[in-house]
């Protein structure tokens, strides 16, 4: 089927502005294949059903819109947590600011190094989960990433890793246009926590492909911070083996445009996938548009999936949730849960929720709900009647609203860290 001319033009214009990394190795074929696939599907436009609620225009155009750098004076996130730090500046690995990459039970390498090697395990993973994730919905921005990503980490976990691997994204240029592609393979019995935070770039396109083998566990905690003007599209593609675990939490505050996609396939019996997100949007200083798009496929028996997404919106902030649970034939005893809630602090903000269930097995329990509500006036009055000023009382109720998502973080220290950060952000906002 021929693409509409506008889509073709858009795609070619973007491709013309990019160049494939040079160098030898197996990645050339994967990249060439991705370019061909991208040409066949075309970059997204607002006319595509999957982008109905979020305009991809600034994500797809040839040049990245500028974004002012954000200079925060706050304590860096995860500061008190013993972790292995890997720093990227404008999407490029920075060895000086990073820790030594050696750690027990895990090997950590660079994408640029492993793609140049002829024989490497990464070859079987690179682009593969992204390709699998293209069915039944196109995700062209992820394909673009596979084609053009120059950097990323390649992590192979063989046991329980003692400390979290912390990816820190810094930006130095107002027009940085970063594309990062990470690979994580957790072998049977492996257990790892990956942290992400930092402003990354004016425009950031990030893909993480995660393969979790039988009995293995992958934990992920991410904070998308106070860089008001950034635009980001991220994809987490995961494939889960038998009795494996995937748990991901994202805290988002600010961002002109953020689209976070999770594409998770439960392929082994008794696997568990939890994805959660807490987003706080204030459209006063810069626009805010936040889109969580989740697609979970149950393709094995007795698997559990859980989606908990909460958004607090004010001053014209826009929130979107598209969440789907697909239960394939034979995926009996599936337990699927999905909740998406928006708390609107005024009438100017908006929330679009599109929860979907598609079930082809008869013995399953799936529930989903999407709600939009205002602050509880009675609770607010009660707090104020005890002397808590209105804005502080609102913040208490905001924290209470987001708590269900934050509670999804398994590690208590990380949970505390995220909660403290959220409180700090709220406090700063209050104090102007």
């Amino acid at each position: 089927m021929a693409l509409p001319q506008a889509k073709l033009d858009l795609t070619e214009a973007r491709l013309a502005a990019l160049s494939l990394p040079d160098g030898a190795g197996w990645a050339n074929a994967a990249r060439a294949d991705a370019v061909a696939r991208l040409r066949a599907m075309g970059l997204p436009t607002r006319r595509d059903e999957y982008w109905k609620f979020t305009s991809p225009e600034t994500l797809t155009r040839a040049d990245a819109p500028r974004a002012a750098l954000f200079h925060g004076d706050e304590t860096p996130l995860y500061a008190g947590i013993d972790r292995l730090k890997i720093v990227f500046v404008d999407g490029v690995f920075d060895a000086d600011q990073s820790d030594d990459l050696s750690l027990e039970h895990v090997s950590i390498e660079h994408l640029a190094d492993v793609t140049a090697t002829d024989i490497h395990w990464a070859r079987e993973l690179y682009g593969q989960l992204e390709i699998a994730g293209q069915d039944p919905v196109d995700r062209p921005l992820a394909t673009l990433n596979t084609a053009f990503a120059r950097d990323g980490v390649v992590i192979r976990v063989t046991g329980k890793v003692e400390k979290p691997i912390s990816l820190v994204y810094l930006n130095a240029s107002e027009s940085s246009d970063a594309i990062l592609h990470h690979l994580v393979r957790v072998e049977a019995g492996g257990d790892v926590t990956v942290l992400e935070n930092g402003p990354a770039a004016a425009r950031f396109n990030k893909v993480m492909e995660i393969s979790v083998a039988d009995g293995a566990a992958f934990h992920h905690v991410r904070a998308q911070g106070r860089d008001h003007e950034r635009r980001a599209v991220t994809h987490m593609f995961a494939r889960l083996g038998r009795e494996s675990t995937y748990k991901s939490f994202t805290l988002t505050a600010n961002g002109v445009l953020t689209r976070n996609e999770h594409v998770i396939e439960l392929t082994g019996d008794d696997a568990v996938a939890h994805v959660a997100g807490a987003a706080m949007g204030d459209g006063a200083r810069a626009e805010f548009h936040h889109d969580d798009t989740v697609f979970i496929t149950h393709d094995a028996e007795r698997c559990e999936s859980r989606q908990v997404f909460k958004k607090v919106l004010r001053n014209g902030a826009e929130g979107v949730f598209q969440g789907k649970i697909l239960v394939k034939p034979g995926a009996q005893k599936t337990d699927g849960y999905q909740i998406s809630q928006a708390l609107m602090l005024d009438d100017e903000s908006s929330f679009q929720g599109k929860p979907e269930l598609e079930i082809y097995a008869d013995d399953v329990v799936c529930s989903h709900g999407s709600t939009t509500g205002a602050i509880d006036e009675t609770a607010l009055y009660y707090l104020r009647s005890r002397g808590v000023p209105a804005d502080q009382a609102t913040d208490l109720l905001v924290l209470a609203f987001l708590a269900e998502a934050i509670d999804e973080i398994e590690d208590a220290r990380l949970q505390d860290d995220i909660r403290t950060r959220l409180q700090e952000w709220l406090e700063r906002r209050r104090q102007g």
């Binding site: 609770a379 109720l397 209470a400």
Partner: protein, 251 residues
């Protein structure tokens, strides 16, 4: 201390007058009780004084220690020393009881230009007051009033009052839902706060509570007005004969 003059209040949303000229003044050191039939406007009076939305004052005034209450935000009224123990305490899922109480105390202190109370001192303070009211530590850890029994909610209101040490305490049917022992504890809690600088307005339907918290003055409210004022005996009269005689008398 609390001066209410000719207070007229209607609902904001509809044309319904609820308070039709309330005159009442509570002096420091005194306990005033208000009794009156259901729907006579007792809770409305307490809400209007504490600053709840939804009511419109069409005439009259209310002041606390000379400050015009009606112009203030609810939080400023609290900082000025007003406290309302609710007839129906509100449940707030997700907000811990301790966090709530500490935030409230420190916000009030800050508003008055006083230093914040440290986490340690606060904990000690609450533990001591909670013990007196027989509130266990488990309850303090839970979200505000969530899953509390009716009586536990009322005790929690009095705990808040004990910690915040307001100057003017309004208790709206704090006795309803309390068992006999809890009633005693709560009354002791209230009596412990009685002093020369503090005023009380106790709304109740029953003499029972007034056996424990001895009022100086008793008012009868009916159809949005104080229709009769007297000494403690007035409450006994209501207990024995109901409102018919009193209302007949004033009609």
């Amino acid at each position: 201390m609390l001066e209410i003059k000719n207070l007229h209040v209607k609902l904001e949303e509809e044309d319904k007058d609820i308070l039709k000229g309330v005159d009442l003044s509570v002096e420091a050191g005194k306990v005033h009780a208000i009794m009156g039939p259901n729907g006579s406007g007792k809770s409305t009076l307490s809400y209007v004084l504490s600053g709840r939305d939804g009511y419109e004052v069409t005439d009259g005034s209310a002041s606390l220690l000379g400050e015009d209450l009606l112009e203030m935000d609810p939080e400023d009224r609290a900082a000025a020393g007003l406290f309302l123990a609710f007839q129906y305490p509100v449940e707030i899922p997700g907000v811990g009881n301790m966090t709530f109480l500490r935030t409230a105390l420190n916000a009030q202190r800050k508003a008055r230009g006083e230093d914040e109370v440290s986490a340690g001192d606060f904990l000690k303070l609450v533990r001591e007051k909670a013990k007196a009211l027989n509130i266990d530590a488990e309850m303090l850890k839970r979200p505000v009033n969530v899953g509390f029994s009716g009586g536990e909610k009322k005790r929690n209101e009095i705990l808040q009052m004990a910690v915040l040490e307001p100057k003017m305490c309004i208790l709206d049917e704090t006795d309803s839902g309390l068992d006999v022992d809890a009633m005693k504890l709560v009354s002791e809690g209230v009596n412990a706060l009685r002093d020369a600088g503090r005023g009380f307005l106790v709304i109740t339907h029953y003499q029972r509570l007034l056996d424990h918290i001895k009022p100086d003055v008793v008012h009868i409210m009916a159809d949005g007005r104080i229709v009769k004022t007297g000494g403690p005996d007035l409450a006994l009269e209501v207990e024995q004969n109901g409102y018919a005689d009193i209302l007949g008398e004033v009609a």
